[in-house]
Assembly symmetry: C2
Amino acid sequence: MPQTDGTSAFDVATDVTRTEGGGLVTDLDPDWDVGGGILNGGYLLSVVGRAAVLESPHAHPVALSASYLRAPAAGPATLTVAPGPSGRTLAHSLVTLSDAGGPALTAQATTATLGTGPSDYGSPMPDVPPVEECFSVAEHRHLAPPGVHVPGLSLKVDTRLDLATAGWAFGQPSGEPVLRAWMRFADGREPDPLALLTFADALPPTSFAMGNMGWAPTVQLQVLVRALPAPGWCLVEARTSEIAGGWVDEDYRIWDSTGRLVAQSRQLARAPR
Amino acid sequence: MPQTDGTSAFDVATDVTRTEGGGLVTDLDPDWDVGGGILNGGYLLSVVGRAAVLESPHAHPVALSASYLRAPAAGPATLTVAPGPSGRTLAHSLVTLSDAGGPALTAQATTATLGTGPSDYGSPMPDVPPVEECFSVAEHRHLAPPGVHVPGLSLKVDTRLDLATAGWAFGQPSGEPVLRAWMRFADGREPDPLALLTFADALPPTSFAMGNMGWAPTVQLQVLVRALPAPGWCLVEARTSEIAGGWVDEDYRIWDSTGRLVAQSRQLARAPR
């Protein structure tokens, strides 16, 4: 049953509250990890996005560009929002997420108020099999190759891979760095702009499809939210254009259940060894 | 003849110098405009990138994400670089470009040292006609429709549009928001990572291909530099995925003369009316 009263796992894990002194604090949840105690970069960006809209006259993050300075520890963290120019259409700010060790993530944030109007031009959703014919990452945790930690994230975000891009899970990597999956929160919490920030970094590394099961730490990530997503499953596609010199990019496009493009992201990451 | 001694128009227009007090200053050149005295966002990002590498142990900008707070005036401007974590592989910083009116652009900067090794995986260059069969924007300035200002930028950056994406210049817009062009500096100055930051925002708005000749002000722009470009013409492709609610995205991919992908960018802009 969908949880829309602020008690969903996502809403609790990304909650940002104001202290009596006026500062913003959060409690980073260790269960949104990608393995080894490393919290997912998209999850962290959702926390940052929540802080940005708290301090903005506008309701939605429409563009966030974050530098991942170092991996923050789970537990208490603070958020500072330095306001920039703000107007009727949009507002700018600079958000910093810090733990006891200092700043972990800084982000350019642009907030605005997304409407419900139709798209004037849109990229169509790719043709993919229905959810029930896709590969559940959570249900196949026992298939993880030795040494591959199944991340907590995979229990929070229900990820159903298009089998055409899941060969790596069966020891048959396609050699093409593309992954495609239906995605929603495991507890049924419906997608919204803050959720899309997590979805925009929630697939396994595209390098898995190249047969390389290493971790690809995010260096810089930009997410654009283009529309309010309809309820239901989102389709998430990640694609890499270039791997060279120890660097890899990942491009995400996310469509909602009506087939509308609702988010795009691009990240630069360190390529797995 | 290529100018590689720092006296090219680009090197002069993006020069950043250190004052006796240790601050960084520049002199924004009015000739790199997109019309109406508005300086090109890519040009501004090259100035920011130059400041970032000046204050970094690393030589190249590999990821820059900028918020365009307001359009700065041509003339004297200052740059502040707040250093972040710095290591053997990469360094982070936050760069702010300000004119007399205050901050105009803030950017997350990641610098690193790009090597000359081969690509492990790359997106091939699309099939396009040779430069001499393409449409020179500068040579056809007299064809500009009434009310369309031909930007100074078009005289600094030699842009040769693939005729398949230049129908709008003849009153026959394709209806597909894609532009493709060979690009190099008009004075022959060879491309480098700083140049790619300008190229990543130097095509006309993709909305031109939709028959909409208005201006699309950049709100947030991320550029990734993936390799040192070889000398010669670069191929630059811009593509829009979604236009809705007054917002438009533009995705750039840039290949060098050897066909290697050397840069990617994505921006969120306000859609022309």
